[in-house]
Symmetry: C2
């Protein structure tokens, strides 16, 4: 936990002795930091990365590795998928919802093909193979997958679907050694090293240093218990990740995530946001959250999800992150999966089997009436839901929620219910407000001189809904921008 | 719309000529401002109120006038209702939900009886009469009413219900001349005037003035096109209302309210929040919103509310503000009221008839099957909902949502549906983070010297759910605190 009293900026006049310095100083050696470093170095800057752990990677290296890209990338085209920046933009606007930052989304979509090429040029490999099954991640080393519900209701009725989850080719995925996130970070780190980027590990930023004109000119950090002062001649880039593990910030801004952080690392304590706020930075979308749902998508698609009243509420064949958001935010985290024995068995036989999710059902019965009774639902609440679903499923229709015909099959007997109340976790999506150059903005929307940020310490393209790959996507995209802007300032 | 570039503080060193000054300068002559003025003056301060319109009142004077008070006020006791601060606190924690500020709610509940007495001592009158019917406001001049769903599910199963909506006695309510809010403001304004509080009307604050030690020492305001500088010897109190009419702030923080401001006035443009943020103030609960639902509670209680899938989602006899929040936030603003002819007629005959809400039904049919078809819902979606409801209503039960037996009656024929999609509007509840003394806090939770705030430019007791009277309640309660703290600084 960051000490609230300790983030006030240090005046440069109080620094008599600079421990180290560089043109561009970057805090955080995750995806945003490494991309900032590469572009800053390429723009001619001397770059110093400060990383509080003992190694590079951040949350990115532990992630599944999706990068949300589209608009017609070479990978999409090679695999026969049509897409355009406009199409991608229309989807993201719909998926993110009312909080969408239109200008940022348009910018990101327009630059997406170029960004794909940039990653490839840095050595990131995407295998030309598509995985079309519901799931959180591809089971092998496939390079492309749907990752935001593009091909499910309601989006498939709004925008022509295209898969945009680009996954760096994995190695030994099952052992967890070389997942997509690692395979994304590795070549980027090698690229940065070749460019002469310096790194100081075990160095944790504490405060910013400001000169008397208000410019951010460095950072105070802690290294092995000692305070060090690092001079930034051109700019400081904050790339320190989200506030997922800052309990106080989560309680204040995104309290539904209390006790349920996921896809984040403990170092995500909000320090970047706080030191920037202490020099007047604006934050946005602080309440927005990614929400994972710990259910096997293969099972979800074959069953029906009902809320605490036994009512269906979402097309079960959609991106499971949407199921997570809907469950946590709209259904008070009350959810049950109803699935028959045949559906359950079929799901188990699929290649995307996630053993972690393969728990025993909470209740099993011969009839829905019995099941409903065992679950403690009021008489006929679940029966009517199932009977309505079955009646239409027989005709290949889901008039309520638009699940695709391929997943519609009447629920038979025996039938089980999985108690999935509280099966959600996630990370916050809000953070510093930046412009499209990665400059941190103050309350009057003016850039704070010398201060840049990217990654999950900023509000990115997903300020409401979510698609897997959006975080690695905007972190790398705007990490590049921030590094370049800092170097050229 | 506030010009984003224009809120940066002015250094005191640049002010050569002060137009006016006082010990305590208060921006905004609504409920928070008047209460701050009274307490500051009573603490011995010379007080100057700056009001941007031509008269006192703010949103408060136009409001229904509920003040959310409890814990066993003389009015509650006189009308036979048991309550305690602990009971009130337990309800508010449940009603506000995960974002609840426990310390503030406890503080507010503990001080509630004293605050009631303070209002009475200032001349506010509460008639010893209780109104027990569902509704937004009492129909006459009754002084007490349920205003937060205390006596409806789920709260009536969690905490013993007590009504806490205290309404100043109205005069000529039907003509709108002397509503509860006016009757609250009037005696407070008279109290302030008797204490010698000065007022400058048509004076709109623009920026804060800060000295070189960081203290807020005054404000720059605009009056008839001229800039004026007002010196505050002890403190500035911001009481300028919410950001309901700042489109950019609404779009950024509470986008579901875009195009649907209510219970706010156009002067609520967020200026107080913005000038304070420009000196480093922290904000919280910016996404939280009060949401009104434009349906007649007497009709809602007699019918059933269904979402876009024909499913029920809330106990219809609860506080209509909860129906509004649930509809806008959890049901994508999709709502229909299903009510039979008898229920509709019965509602029309009640004393709380709100002619404004008495529209014609959108669809009418002899059977639910026909109605469902006319509404364009999938076959049997509504039929099963009504048949389930009726089956249990016959036994006086609502196992799904806990509507009280007195409102449970099977839905008969003919039956109507009112299309209530988009029937919501509201105001944002977030704003400056303050401590319990009304001091504005910076990002490190330290008070910003010389700066105080209260009312809807701050985050108050309701940072999530809502109860009518919470805004006038916390605005007056913490307005007092802020005025006193400023005077004694």
């Amino acid at each position: 936990m960051v000490d609230a009293k300790d983030v006030e900026p240090t005046p440069a006049s109080e620094v008599s002795d600079w421990t180290d310095g560089a043109d561009v100083v970057i805090a955080g050696y995750g995806i945003a930091g490494v991309c900032a470093a590469i572009e800053a170095a390429r723009a001619g800057a001397d770059v110093l990365l400060l990383e509080r752990t003992g190694g590079w990677g951040g949350a990115a290296a532990l992630a599944g590795g999706f990068v949300y890209l589209g608009g017609g990338t070479p990978l999409q085209r090679a695999l026969g998928f049509d897409d355009s920046p406009e199409n991608m933009e229309a989807f993201l606007l719909a998926a993110v919802g009312p909080t969408a930052d239109h200008a940022r989304i348009a910018d990101y979509c327009k630059g997406s093909i170029d960004h794909y090429q940039w990653l490839v040029d840095c050595g990131v490999r995407f295998k030309e193979e598509f995985w079309g099954e519901p799931g959180w991640e591809p089971p092998h080393d496939e390079g492309l997958m749907y990752s935001g519900g593009e091909n499910a209701a309601p989006f498939n009725t709004i925008v022509a679907p295209a898969p945009r989850g680009h996954v760096p080719q994995m190695q030994n995925k099952r052992t967890g050694q070389r997942g997509g996130g690692y395979m994304l970070m590795k070549p980027l780190v090698e690229t940065a090293e070749k460019l002469g980027v310096r790194v100081e590990y075990d160095t944790r930023i504490q405060r910013l240093i400001r000169d008397d004109t208000g410019w951010v000119v460095g950072v105070v950090a802690r290294r092995y218990g000692e305070e060090v002062t690092i001079r930034a001649h051109r700019g400081v880039v904050l790339a320190t990740g989200s506030f997922a593990y800052n309990e106080e910030m989560v309680a204040t801004h995104a309290p539904r995530l209390i006790g349920r952080p996921a896809a984040a690392i403990e170092e995500h304590d909000g320090i970047g946001i706080r030191v920037a706020q202490a020099v007047g930075a604006q934050v946005e979308a602080m309440d927005a959250t990614e929400v994972a749902f710990f259910g096997d998508p293969q099972m979800l698609a074959r069953g029906i999800m009902v809320n605490g009243r036994g009512e269906r509420y979402i097309a079960e064949d959609t991106y499971p992150g949407r199921i997570g958001q809907a469950t946590l935010i709209e259904q008070d985290n009350q959810a049950y999966l109803i699935i028959d024995d045949e559906g359950n068995e079929a799901a188990r036989e699929t290649e995307t089997a996630t053993p972690f999710f393969r728990t025993q059902p909470t209740w099993v019965a011969e009839t829905v009436a019995e099941l409903e009774n065992e679950m403690g639902l009021p008489e006929s609440a679940l029966q009517q839901t199932v009977s309505f679903y079955n009646e239409h499923a027989r005709n290949g229709e889901d008039p309520l929620l638009g699940k695709k015909p391929e997943w519609l099959k009447p629920i038979g007997s025996p039938v089980a219910a999985f108690d999935m109340r509280g099966f959600t976790a996630g990370f916050p999506l809000g953070g510093l407000r930046t412009d499209l150059f990665g400059r941190v903005l103050d309350i009057a929307d003016k850039p704070i001189h010398g201060l840049y940020a990217a990654g999950r310490c900023t509000a990115g393209i997903c300020t409401g809904g979510y698609a897997s790959g959006a975080s690695l996507g905007d972190s790398s995209f705007y990490g590049r921008r921030a590094g370049r802007a800092a170097a050229l300032s």
